[in-house]
């Protein structure tokens, strides 16, 4: 059977206890959780129409109704009625990339958004269930290890056995002469800093070419976003606290972000953690660069003779509504044949790399990225351009047998600006 309860050491002992013998905080935490989510849960439960189903990347490859926004909301109603508890439901919530497609496709968002200020919040619900699980001692084995290693190294173990840490977090920038500190700080996520180092190198050199002054952090830690996504909220907040203190200590005013996942952490999680104390401006590099191209500060001139399509990263397109600028940038590059697919159609596309899915269930990530690459190959392209380092690893793996190269938009732009990027695209 595919759906056992959460594994790991703690949960089995907890599962065996009758509900009244659970540690008091499990009962309390569960009831607080249900109180917080009851209305949202009934809002979906009383609709139950499943308009969200076919856009869900996990659903598309598993066709398993247990792992749908409908079920995710209904489970909360069942908890409210005493039919299910956190141990029953925790493992199901692994099966979500937190892409946000279901929220957009839900009539309750589509039709009520502006007037009632309403939005279906499946992603937040998934995060809340994962958090409740961790808080009550239910762990998914891979996530547990991942977060322990992250905690020990202050960075995610993106290179597997090979260590990552403070001593190497700025190695990607070798030879680029980037200062430490300043008004604008470039934040580089773990995947880009250690695995796909060509991305931050491209970004840094594009900004330098545009004359944009920026520096690196004194001591950068993981943004904490992945921990938050997997339910390790306390750890996420500790990491966030470190980064915020570090920015404040160096007098930073703006944080330049190249990774959509960090963009979510800094624009959604950090303000929730710190309130008014978090008064830094968060700037998406893609938007800055698009503006430089518009104003003529950057002009891509080197023709790139490739047939491409663009992968809308879920966190930019579905969660932040950023889809125009990447297309603007790609259209400014000479030589490209651009077989675009509109951003609404791409609500149902995903790389499978997000929300910790690739860590706990890599086989599902592979199916999802395979399906995404298949869409690209139907367009007869040789290259899929993305704008999210976390998508690029699974997409590259899926692209290889199809002869589709996966390139980051910053890498491609840098090339067209005549920059020799350097770094690694992850092949080790």
């Amino acid at each position: 059977m595919s759906e056992h309860h959460a594994h790991g050491t703690e949960p089995s002992s907890i599962e065996l206890l009758p509900i009244e013998l659970l540690p008091i905080d499990t009962a309390q935490a569960s009831s607080d959780f249900v109180d917080e989510w009851r209305n949202a849960a009934y809002n979906c439960y009383s609709s139950g129409h499943k308009f969200c189903r076919e856009v869900c990347p996990v659903m598309q490859v598993t066709r398993n109704e247990t792992w749908t926004p409908t079920a995710f909301h209904a489970n909360v109603v069942a908890m409210d009625k005493g039919e299910l508890d956190i141990a029953d439901i925790a493992e199901d919530y692994v099966n979500c990339t937190q892409c946000g497609a279901c929220e957009l496709r839900c009539p309750n968002t589509l039709m009520l958004g502006d007037f009632y200020r309403f939005r279906t919040r499946t992603v937040d619900l998934v995060k809340a269930v994962r958090t409740l699980a961790v808080d009550t001692g239910i762990h998914q084995p891979q996530w547990k290890t991942w977060n322990e290693l992250t905690d020990a190294r202050s960075h995610e173990p993106v290179l597997g056995e090979q260590p990552v840490g403070q001593d190497s977090v700025r190695e990607w920038a070798d030879g680029l002469d980037i200062p430490i500190g300043g008004d604008d700080i470039l934040f580089v996520d773990c995947e880009a800093a250690f695995y796909r180092t060509s991305v931050p190198r491209a970004v840094a050199q594009i900004l330098q070419m545009a004359g944009h002054e920026f520096g690196l952090m004194q001591e950068q830690w993981c943004c904490g976003g992945p921990a938050a996504e997997m339910g390790y909220r306390d750890q996420a907040m500790r990491f966030a606290r470190h980064n915020l203190d570090n920015w404040k200590a160096s007098g930073a005013k703006r944080i330049l972000v190249l990774d959509p996942h960090d963009y979510i952490s800094f624009t959604e999680d950090y303000p929730k953690y710190f309130g008014a104390e978090f008064d830094l401006e968060i700037v998406l590099v893609l938007e800055v660069v698009a503006e430089y191209i518009r104003s003529g500060a950057l002009t891509p001139r080197v023709a790139i003779e490739k047939t491409i399509t663009y992968h809308d990263p879920c966190r930019l397109n579905k969660r932040k509504g950023v889809w125009k600028e990447p297309r603007e940038i790609l259209r400014s590059i000479p030589g490209l044949t651009f077989n675009d697919v509109d951003h609404v159609t791409q609500w149902s596309y995903c790389s499978g790399g997000g929300g910790g899915l690739a860590i706990e269930k890599p086989e599902l990530t592979a199916l999802i990225s395979g399906a995404r690459i298949k869409k690209a190959s139907e367009l007869s392209v040789d290259t899929l351009v993305s704008a999210c380092p976390w998508s690029e690893r699974p997409l590259s793996a899926a692209g290889e047998p199809e002869n589709i190269d996966v390139v980051d938009i910053h890498e491609m732009l840098a090339e067209s600006l005549g920059i020799t990027v350097g770094g690694s695209r992850g092949a080790r």
Binding site: M1, E3, H4, S46, S47, A74, K81, E83, I89
Partner: protein
């Protein structure tokens, strides 16, 4: 209430099924079972646990479905086919628990025949996804229910569904040419019009296709279907008109439907209560002044020149009856959002006007044109009485949609808001009584209880023998003959009476 199966029997079922379907496709977790106990039709939350299945299986082929059905016969355990799980008559709800056969994994497109204009698909596919692929060939499968993004081909077969543009392209029964299916005893058969997979009209033998559509999973499980394709329409015409008076709007919808316009795909009449309800929905609907008492919408599809000519004629018919055209923006926008108009919960109101998160219940009778005004009046009176008695219900107004290109009958829909969280045994019983009364009105006027969803739910199901007369006895005989062990979706349509105590193992 059916008892939960003993754990040892579930284990034996798993042991018999998993080697063929694969372990990953046999689910016993609580969440897997709870999430397949429900459909969108409101039901008291406190009774959820009564209908939770013992086991869920996700077969990947016709042979695998047949294997599961044979195992179920061997153990005498009920089988419930489930596809999209959007059906509104509880068809996919395991009322006697047992094994839910969830066919969503069977969603491949096996063939697109461009010359004969057919597609052969697994029944787990959605029309929306199929049409994304067909669009590359300029084709469309025009089965277009309001649940277009979420219902699936197998469920369309199981319900013999109704399509919004059925007056032009026909409904599921016209658009599904043939299918493979597994009978209640686990045999694999093929049904269509005659013998060929791609035949749209045959006189050979009994017309079994009709029998095996709309049976709500009580006569077997369809697995692969061959569908009829059309050229994707070059043009769409949609117009909305406002009226100060229901009677005039009623005349207009009739005139439009009877006009014999070849591109005519459907017309809809919104009654006064529906217009009132839509005023709560400022986002989706541009609010109309109080003077507006009814609306009519009419649509056409086809080649550009034909649609333009048909559209002009529709505009003239409506204008001559004093209709006020509501402009292109509302007309096109509103029709385009027809599949998204289901942000219903927040539109619930108690008698005092308090907002309550309500679920949507939809009655869907088939009524002749001449009887629409009387049925509309009587249905509203029933719901009003219910509301006054129990302040957890709300009247969300009525639609009447053409079902055919001649305007003979209309899918007649009253939408009822139900505060599902508050449903207790008393209010549920009152609701069931109201549904029975609503069905009785439909029959009194010579209509049918259901045009789209089926009539399996508590209340209306009591009147099905009355609706079908001697035909219901034939249903019983067919059920008994094909499903000797009463395995397939038992409890639906009162079909238990086909069995004496010995035959009924449950």
């Amino acid at each position: 209430m059916t008892a939960v199966l003993e754990a040892s029997i579930v284990e034996q079922l798993v042991a018999a099924i998993a080697p063929v379907l694969g372990e990953a496709n046999v689910l016993t977790s609580k969440t897997a079972r709870y999430s397949r106990a429900r459909v969108p039709a409101p039901f008291p939350v406190h009774r959820w646990a009564e209908r939770v299945p013992d086991l869920v299986v996700l077969p990947g082929s016709t042979e695998e479905v047949a294997h599961v059905v044979r195992v179920a016969n061997e153990f005498g355990v009920p089988i419930v086919p489930r596809d999209g799980g959007t059906g509104l008559t509880d068809g996919a709800v395991p009322e006697r628990r047992g094994i839910v056969v969830d066919v969503k994994r069977m969603n491949l497109i096996h063939e697109i025949d461009l010359e004969n204009r057919t597609a052969t698909v697994g029944v787990g596919i959605s029309m929306l996804k199929l049409n994304e692929v067909l669009a590359q060939h300029g084709l469309i499968y025009p089965d277009n229910p309001a649940s277009y993004p979420c219902s699936l081909v197998g469920g369309r077969i199981g319900t013999s569904g109704w399509s919004l543009i059925g007056s032009r392209y026909g409904h599921s029964r016209d658009l599904v040419l043939s299918f493979d299916m597994v009978t209640p005893t686990g045999d694999i058969i093929f049904v269509g019009d005659g013998g060929g997979r791609k035949i749209s009209k045959s006189s050979s033998g009994y017309q079994l296709k009709h029998l095996f559509m709309g049976h709500q999973g009580t006569l077997g499980i369809a697995t692969t279907a061959t569908l009829k394709l059309y050229p994707k329409a070059e043009a769409e015409f949609s117009a909305f008109w406002a009226f100060d008076d229901y009677d005039v709007a009623y005349k207009a919808v009739g005139a439009l439907a009877r006009a014999g316009i070849a591109t005519f795909a459907g017309a809809v009449l919104f009654d006064e209560k529906k217009v009132e309800y839509l005023r709560r929905d400022d986002e989706a609907y541009i609010p109309q002044p109080e003077s507006v008492k009814a609306l009519v919408c009419s649509v056409g599809y086809g080649n550009s020149d034909e649609v333009a000519a048909g559209g002009r004629r529709m505009m003239r018919i409506a204008r001559d009856l004093g209709a006020r055209y509501m402009g292109d923006e509302i007309s096109q926008g509103d029709w385009a959002s027809r599949h998204d108009r289901y942000a219903t919960p927040v539109h619930g109101r108690t008698l005092s006007g308090q907002v309550a998160l309500m679920s949507w219940h939809c009655e869907d009778a088939a009524i002749n044109y001449t009887d629409l005004p009387a049925v509309t009046r009587e249905w509203h009176a029933i719901v009003e009485k219910l509301r006054r008695k129990h302040d957890v219900f709300d009247d969300w107004g009525m639609f009447a949609y053409t079902s055919s290109d001649t305007g003979v009958d209309y899918l007649t829909e009253i939408d009822i808001g139900i505060w599902e969280e508050k449903l207790d045994d008393t209010t549920w019983a009152a609701f069931v009584d109201a549904k029975r009364e609503i069905a009785a009105v439909s029959l009194k006027y010579g209509g049918s209880i259901s045009a789209c969803h089926g009539s399996c739910r508590e209340g209306e199901v009591d009147l099905v023998p009355q609706e079908l007369g001697g035909g219901y006895d034939v249903m019983l005989a067919v059920k008994r003959a094909l499903d000797p062990n009463n395995i397939m979706n038992p409890g639906k349509y009162g079909l238990d009476r086909a069995y004496d105590n010995e035959g009924d193992r449950r």
